[in-house]
């Protein structure tokens, strides 16, 4: 098991946002967390990557409990996140953003060209924009940059927070194709999405979150045909 979350509780002040969630992610899988706004999806990712403190519970990564570890050390272990809202550095160029993705890699310089090639292979658009400043990219390009930058760190597990948010339908399909491709080259992915249709089509397994709880856990393909899930998240159940 690559990543195992055991009975996780997270608070914002006195409000409990995550009320005892357990999730496992196996080597080579795409696992998705779906749910409505406020279900705690983004909080889950922030807690896993270390931006939110854990109230109780464990986050086990490669057999090591990392729940007390600061975020930057988790990044060094191989947890890499493309943050929500395409959190790129808007004042840096595309290349500088990508270089930031390798900030702490030991063989930064030796790996740089090879990894840039890989990212540009996945996202040829980024190569065209290489010296353009992050803030002037389109929404889709910013999302590509956020994912590409996360890949520069050679992650063992890639955390993706709402990669489809605010994108045009064509761009969404494009991004999800690339996510599938990244997974096929051996990167384990934990994907948080509101676009349940796309997420369930691409993922191996899925968890349905509702106000801080896991209400369902199954193979993604089973959830796609689950009447309750269809009604609540796919908007087709009533027919």
């Amino acid at each position: 098991m690559r990543l195992e979350i055991k009975d996780l509780h997270v608070h914002y002040g006195k409000i409990e946002a995550i009320k005892g969630i357990s999730v496992t992610v196996n080597e080579g899988e795409i696992v998705t967390l779906i749910g409505a706004n406020g279900a705690g999806k983004t909080t889950m990712l922030k807690t896993i990557s270390g931006l939110r403190p854990v109230s109780s519970g464990q986050i086990i990564f490669n057999g090591e409990d990392i729940s007390k570890m600061p975020a930057h050390k988790r990044a060094d272990l191989g947890l890499s996140q493309a943050p929500e809202g395409r959190g790129i550095f808007i004042g840096m160029s595309v290349l500088e953003n990508l270089e930031m993705g390798k900030y702490n890699r030991k063989n930064r310089k030796a790996e740089m060209n090879e990894d840039l090639e890989k990212v540009f292979h996945l996202f040829p658009r980024l190569k065209e924009r290489i010296s353009q400043v992050g803030g002037t990219l389109s929404g889709g390009e910013q999302q590509m940059l956020a994912i590409g930058r996360a890949l520069m760190a050679r992650p063992k597990v890639l955390l993706l927070d709402e990669p489809s948010m605010g994108l045009a339908p064509l761009m969404i399909a494009n991004i999800f194709n690339i996510i599938t491709e990244i997974n096929k080259t051996g990167t384990t992915i934990l994907l948080v999405e509101q676009n349940a249709q796309q997420a369930l089509q691409r993922a191996h397994r899925a968890y349905v979150l509702e106000v801080g709880h896991v209400v369902k856990e199954a193979k993604a393909s089973d959830l796609l045909n689950d009447p309750a899930v269809r009604a609540a998240y796919l908007g087709t159940g009533a027919h």
Partner: protein, 354 residues
């Protein structure tokens, strides 16, 4: 649009000229630039002389001293985006180190200098480590408090003179032919200029390397910087400590020139004025900050002949300037690193959605 292009021309053309200059021309330019500043005290130009105060003294304090401290504060505020409203505290710590050790021990200026810098750095780390977890406004308030605490502590400790401060601080020993006396500010100015050049060199080197990149990332998005593996707390504390070191060095030198210090010299106004230098000149841009500090420190002295209304005139000039150039006199380039393709990139960026 045409107006906008004109605005950035001076800085960009200068940067471009520099980038395209061969090495020999850069060396010549640097040397003549530096020589000019070393020769500045001998310059007697009616445009820049200061009626009502001694030009050579003005060059040392406030102008040189404010330039030095603005460069230091720019590491904290401009490079890493941390709002520090108590910067004067480190200046005070440097000055008090010089005053106490200078009057009570046999140590001379050159021996006290590293101690003062070390103490300022230590207090920077002491203040920074717990408080740099805070963000934005909270950090500003804590640093504001720290600045006042240092001053109030100095007022209340009788052993270091209380509100009367410390008098009889020794001047630095002679350095070759240069004699440091109260009557001649030139040697102090040269020492200060040397400090400043060293710090400019250091800051430029750091900004172009990993710490600079980390500060950039932290300023733009602290959370994302952590996700990239940047130990943000470490780099923020370092920015704070380096800023403190610069102010500490300034404080030691200042105390050795002024001969007596009182706590009220280190009040909030100084912190605010240094911050104003940084913002006025162009936050984050080293040359802008230097220019801003020079103007802000120099103008009140230049217009001293106006006597009472000069502060009013100074205030109006500030307000007008900030309206005309809200990003400062020489704002930081929107692109943060020089790129020879910059213009073509900008052009292709405009017709982006096709």
């Amino acid at each position: 649009m045409a107006d906008k292009k004109f605005r950035y021309n001076v800085r960009d053309h200068a940067a471009e000229y520099w980038e395209r200059s061969p090495k020999w021309r850069r060396v010549c330019l640097s040397i003549s630039f530096i020589a000019f500043f070393y020769a500045l005290p001998f310059l007697n130009n009616p445009l820049i002389n200061t009626p009502g105060s001694d030009f050579q003294s003005v060059l040392f304090y406030p102008v040189g001293m404010y330039v030095l401290m603005a460069i230091g504060l720019n590491i904290v505020v401009g490079k890493s985006g941390l709002l520090d409203l108590g910067y004067v505290a480190f200046f005070a710590i440097g000055a008090y180190t010089m005053a106490i050790l200078g009057t009570h021990t046999g140590l001379n200026f050159w021996e006290i200098l590293p101690i003062g810098i070390a103490l300022a750095m230590f207090s920077g780390a002491l203040l920074g480590t717990p408080t740099l977890r805070l963000r934005g406004d909270y950090l500003a308030i804590v640093t504001l408090g720290f600045g006042e605490i240092v001053r109030i502590v100095a007022v209340n400790i009788e052993a270091i003179g209380g509100p009367r401060g410390i008098a009889g601080i020794p001047t630095p020993p002679d350095f070759f032919n240069a004699k440091f006396t109260i009557l001649d500010p030139k040697p102090y100015y040269w020492v200060l200029l040397t400090f400043t050049l060293l710090i400019v060199w250091m800051v430029r080197r750091m900004a172009a390397r990993r710490p600079g990149r980390a500060w950039d990332a932290i300023r733009q998005d602290d959370d994302v910087a952590q996700l990239m593996g940047v130990n943000t707390l470490k780099y923020k504390v370092w920015a704070f400590v380096l800023g403190a070191a610069v102010a500490g060095a300034g404080g030691v030198l200042y105390a050795s020139q002024i001969l007596s210090i009182v706590p009220d010299q280190f009040n909030l106004n100084v912190s605010i004025l240094i911050l104003a230098c940084v913002v006025f000149g162009g936050i984050g841009n080293l040359w802008g900050v230097i220019l801003g500090a020079t103007l802000l420190a120099f103008t009140p002295e230049r217009i001293r002949f106006l006597s009472q209304p000069r502060i009013l005139v100074f205030g109006i000039a500030l307000v007008v300037m900030m309206n005309l150039r809200p990003d400062g006199i020489l704002p930081k380039k929107k692109r943060e690193h020089f790129d020879p393709n910059w213009h073509t990139v900008e052009e292709s960026g405009e017709g982006e959605i096709k």
